[in-house]
Amino acid sequence: MRSWFKQLRYLSALGLLLFLVSCSFMGKKNGCPNGDVVFVGDLGDIDIVKVSCIPKDGILRVLVEIKNDDDKERSLAYRFDWFDEEGVVLGREEAWKPVYLYPKEVKTIRGTAPNWLAADTKFLIKE
């Protein structure tokens, strides 16, 4: 009887440990821990409204809301850097992609990770 209780105690402890480990991994997968935004140079009246990270089917997707507070249209370039759980850059550098903003326009830029290993991202934007 005592040995049965002992086994149950061990199993409970193991179950709790597994639960905590899986939760910690899920925590890393849900959203990007840093989700940094880097302005390359002075962009004036360009603001980042919101950065949302949405993992879907294991692939990290990012939505960046960007606002042009200027009274003129702006032609900018952006790219994402992707990192694995250890913070190591994944794959090769992405290409800069053009984005056009009308005056006072808020635009959502979508980014998708290059593979299932991506756990975090950095959004870079420049003139």
Binding site: K56, D57, G58, I59, E93, E94, W96, T112, P114, N115
Partner: protein, 192 residues
């Protein structure tokens, strides 16, 4: 005689210096940077198309973690009026997808002749260890084929040129003929 040769050498030196002085300097640029040298389809457009299409396919139902479907690639058709190396688009998309590790590619139509030639070479040659040669009849057939096209609309006035590109890609299931995935991206370039 000596004076004539001397004068000739000096003249050559002057001409050479002038040529060097007039030539433009060469520098390295960012291969992933925004390129706006001309309005024609360029490297920025190629990167944009390859990245957007690849990432779109990654989050489609076609790619489920672990299934790694077998795909064969057909060249993107150039339906524009300008010369575009569409093989570069196809290669970039294939490389991006292969790097992601979510799909596998089998020999496409263009590489088939080389594949068959290599198989024949191994089978017919007496120089190979028979235990290591690739057997015929073991190649895998693709479950899907990737194809696409690029089209353009060009408008031009005396001082403005406006080019609109539309790139469309599709993945068809070969056995059933079902369109499994399709997406398009567009690019607009203006020169004024």
């Amino acid at each position: 005689m000596f004076q004539r040769t001397y004068v000739l050498r000096v003249a050559l030196l002057i001409v050479f210096s002038m040529v060097l002085g007039c030539s433009k300097s060469v520098r390295y640029g960012d291969p992933k940077g925004i390129e706006t040298v001309s309005i024609e389809f360029g490297s920025t457009d190629l990167h944009k198309v390859a990245e957007e299409m690849t990432r779109s396919m990654l989050v489609s139902q076609l790619v489920v973690e672990g299934n790694r479907p077998l795909i064969t690639v057909q060249d993107v058709k150039n339906l524009t009026s300008e010369y575009i190396d569409t093989r570069a688009i196809t290669d970039s998309i294939r490389t991006e997808l292969a790097r992601s590790g979510v799909v596998r590619f089998v020999v496409d139509e263009e590489a088939m002749a080389q594949q068959v030639s290599e198989l024949d070479r191994q089978q017919d040659g007496e120089y190979y260890d028979q235990e290591t040669i690739a057997e015929k009849g073991k190649m895998l057939g693709a479950a899907y084929r990737l194809e696409g096209s690029i089209r353009s609309i060009v408008k031009q006035s005396s001082d403005v040129k406006d080019v609109y590109y539309k790139v469309n890609l599709q993945v068809w299931e070969i056995r059933t003929g079902i369109l499994e995935w399709s997406d398009e991206t567009d690019i607009r370039k203006i020169r004024d």
